[in-house]
Amino acid sequence: MSDDYSKRRGLSWSEPLIFERSRASEDRSRFGGEGLDSAKVRGDIPDSLIRDRAPRLPMVTEREAAQHFTRLSSWNFGVDAGLYPLGSCTMKYNPKVNEYLASLPGFRDIHPDQPPETVSGALELMLSLQRMLEEISGMDKVCLQPAAGAHGELTGMLMVRAYHESKGNPRKVVLIPDTAHGTNPASSNLAGYEVKEIPTAKNGVLDPETVKENLDEEVAALMMTNPNTLGLFETHIREIADVLHEKDALLYCDGANLNAIMGISRPGDMGVDVIQFNLHKTFSTPHGGGGPGSGPVGLSSRLEAFQPVPVLVEKDGEPRLEWDRPQSIGKVMAYYGHFLIMVRAYAYLARLSARGVRRASEIAVLNANYLRVALKNVYHLAHPDQCMHEAVFSDKNLPNGVTTMDVAKRLMDYGYHPPTIYFPLVIHGALMIEPTETEGLETLNLFIDALTRIAKEAATEPDTVKSAPLTTPIGRLDEVAAARKPVMCCVFDEDGAD
């Protein structure tokens, strides 16, 4: 398996920056603007406001652009290419029918300011999605507007703030366990809160006593992820919610890991006040090489009045956008959210329904536990307990100074995307593996085999592992140098630099 890559080389392109392909050509005009009189176009615009130099965009033909971007794509690893077990990211298969439906002109080519009666199909789809998310989460209301998970967190925390302000004191502190995603403290800070980090107990979950010890009248909320980033279910969450509510503090649940519990347990029943959904994780919409995502939030009735405008409701049997919400936090982006992503998530849920989503979660948990058991004697397992949708290992027992980074890079040579590495921070050298339910047994077995071989290589030929990857278009890059003297755009010859 490891040395069967020689065949690939003939298709490994060397492709310059598109600016380096630039050359003069006469075949540029495609819109029939050749005859325009430039003085007349300018008309009453003062000369001082007209561009005196065109932007230095590349000058390539359509054919050259097609070649350029096709070649760039060949340097990427995507879910369609192979296993992408990136923990906390839920890299499941992105069904193609979703892509097709999102490309329908009736969705793509509608303007957000069209009269509502001309977009009734779009509003109905949004309303249906909203209801399905309410049912899956057990939350009282869902707001679709946030653009991504972190944006949902911010929206949620701004609502928490508005809730406390409505009672006369916004409060000062948000409690966050040490296993949290980095976005949690960042979002809390952006909402104007100080962050107090609290420790996870030795068994990997949060102890209600720890919450009690840190709780006072200035705590606005606790932000916790369930299942958490160790892949463990927060067993005491209901009790923690009660402890918080006694002091009128709220419970924010980071819903990044919802893929583990659909149809099995509902955040609304756990006492959660606000949770974000990551449609690009749990609900199968593609990650797009870094986005777009979509991060709707589910709310308990406590927070309903504060959601961003417009609020999508049903009135007289018709979906309607309501703007008149005096206690709303306002707007968090220009329009109604990432509508074309909602179309994809809707299609996924309409296809799966209740049994399908439950089955997805069951198999996601099954796959993760299968990996956990198969690899527990090969890599050090962070927690011995059963896991939910992901399992966390570490490089603790690897010989010859081989690290998590080395294992990750060596996995590329075996044809896999590496797991999430060095997160959660509480596990030194963490390797966080989330296989998702769309990967079958054979794939898992091959992956287990690759990880087992790498562990053996660490003992027998550590230098190979440490110098991996050997088969990718490029080797490990010097990230320190890149940050010290950053070059963040193309340097043109005429600028005379470098």
């Binding site: 932007p55 002109p105 300011d113 099954l366 995307h417 990230e479």
Partner: protein, 452 residues
């Protein structure tokens, strides 16, 4: 079950390797009282053909711009998108990848982002552009937060925001600024539809000035005067652009001393999509790069000296800096940035200028025609790029409805955000409308007004 490859036999064998009898045994950690009993109440599962039928009928109930003539703008524009853009985006090597945390197998995404960043710098006249924000509104809000970091010494200065900045953007900025308690002061507009620069000069020690150019009314702002006013008051100049196409013709904000440019990039090859996903283009000066939000791709080399690209200056970001990060952004608009890069690549400098000129010329054609034939009244006297405010002299609601029935999405009513413009609409023109369409529009509008 859809999208799950396991057979029952495989499930059984996996359970036995794990050492449990049934799948339920895998969530012993979930207390009984919060286990969901029964089956979720979701609509019945659809087969793939049923799904397609149902969703197509929903899509079919929307009036799509391609089947009518669309003169709606206000931050979202109906431009032509060359099919190459979607063909390239449909490569799953791009769209099924995650954020490029592992550069060795993400060079496609990383190099494309680097190219995109360069193009945005060229378009806006700035030195550094990030890998994207959610949309123009959120980029504007992040720009104001960054202005606070740039001008950290200015503890009490207000944020001056032009009333001619898109009302939805102003509301987003207000939401993001709530926690700081810093004052936001609106700077009004004159009868020409441009920001009153004197009102900026009246303010003492403002922290930042936020203007939109061309502004929400389509008016081209007096950027030289605004720039001078910022210099005089020491305010950080934030320029918002919602019609990126204008940058093919107009001098970019960087030439007027903008410290930050927040631009909606939807016009660069991205469908209107009922408002999203769009693309927040965000650009700043190199000296402020470490205070900027979002991801940045940078150039580096591997051990053999080969050029490659990585995410850089990550110590500003949430996954490293946590509560002290410059922003909480994680997932951004990668695919849309790629769309914009492909679009700008095939436009090139000449194509973009040509297209911008056509938009401007056709908009002028309609504006002059309406003026000459006295159909409504052009509200503002300042030069405009490709949209303008038109006073209909009566409630626009019924007129817009009548026009929709004639196959025209005729304009956006301005009254809700600007009570003094309750009878006016915003009309936008792009290259998708020919002069015959515009003649037709004028004739139908004239008729609708006379019949009303």
């Amino acid at each position: 079950m859809p999208y799950i490859p396991h057979t029952e036999a495989e499930i059984k064998s996996m359970l036995s390797s794990i050492g449990v009898d049934k799948i339920e045994d895998l969530w012993k950690a979930i207390p009984e009282d919060i286990r969901y009993q029964g089956e979720l109440d979701l609509p019945q599962a659809l087969t793939e053909p049923e799904l397609v039928k149902k969703v197509r009928s929903m899509a079919g109930r929307n009036l799509e711009a391609g089947s009518v003539r669309c003169l709606l703008g206000g931050g979202t524009y109906h431009h032509y998108i060359p099919p190459l853009v979607d063909q390239m985006l449909s490569r799953s090597e791009f769209y099924t990848a995650y954020t490029p945390y592992q550069p060795e197998i993400s060079q496609g995404t990383l190099q494309a982002i680097f190219e995109y960043q360069t193009m945005v710098c060229e378009l806006t006249g700035m030195e550094v552009a990030n890998a994207s924000m959610y949309d123009g509104a959120e980029a504007s809000a992040e720009a104001v937060l960054m202005a606070e970091r740039i001008s950290a010494k200015n503890e009490s200065g207000a944020i001056l925001v032009g009333t001619t900045v898109n009302p939805l953007y102003r509301r987003t900025i207000a939401t993001y600024m709530k926690r700081s308690g810093r004052e936001i002061i609106e700077i009004g507009y004159g009868p020409d539809g441009r920001t009153l620069v004197d009102k900026i000069l009246e303010q003492e020690g403002p922290l930042a000035v936020v203007v939109q150019h061309p502004n929400y009314f389509g008016s081209i702002e007096d950027m030289e005067a605004i720039s001078a006013a910022c210099e005089k008051t020491g305010a950080v100049l934030v320029v918002v652009v919602t019609e990126a196409m204008s940058l093919g013709l107009l001098k970019p904000p960087g030439h007027f001393g903008a410290a930050i440019v927040a631009c909606e990039g939807q016009s660069m090859g991205i469908p209107m999509g009922f408002g999203g996903p769009h693309l927040g283009m965000f650009a700043c000066r190199k000296k402020d790069a470490r205070k900027s939000p979002g991801r940045l791709a940078g150039q580096s080399t591997d051990a053999d000296g080969r050029r490659g690209f990585v995410l850089t200056l990550a110590t500003r970001e949430q996954h490293i800096r946590r509560a002290k990060a410059t922003s909480n952004i994680c997932t951004n608009q990668g695919m849309l940035a790629l769309a914009a890069a492909i679009y700008m690549s095939i436009m090139g400098p000449d194509g973009l200028r040509e297209l911008a000129s056509i938009c401007r010329a056709r908009s002028q054609y309609l504006k002059e025609k309406l003026e000459a034939e006295k159909i409504g009244r052009i509200v503002f006297s300042a030069p405009t790029f490709n949209e303008f405010a038109l006073d209909l002299g009566r409630d626009p609601g019924p007129i817009l409805k009548a026009m929709a029935q004639k196959g025209f999405l005729a304009g956006i009513p301005l009254g809700e955000s600007y009570p003094d413009l309750e009878n006016s609409i915003l009309v936008a023109v792009t290259e998708t409308l020919g002069e015959d369409d515009l003649d037709n529009y004028a004739a139908q509008l004239s008729r609708a007004l006379s019949e009303a």
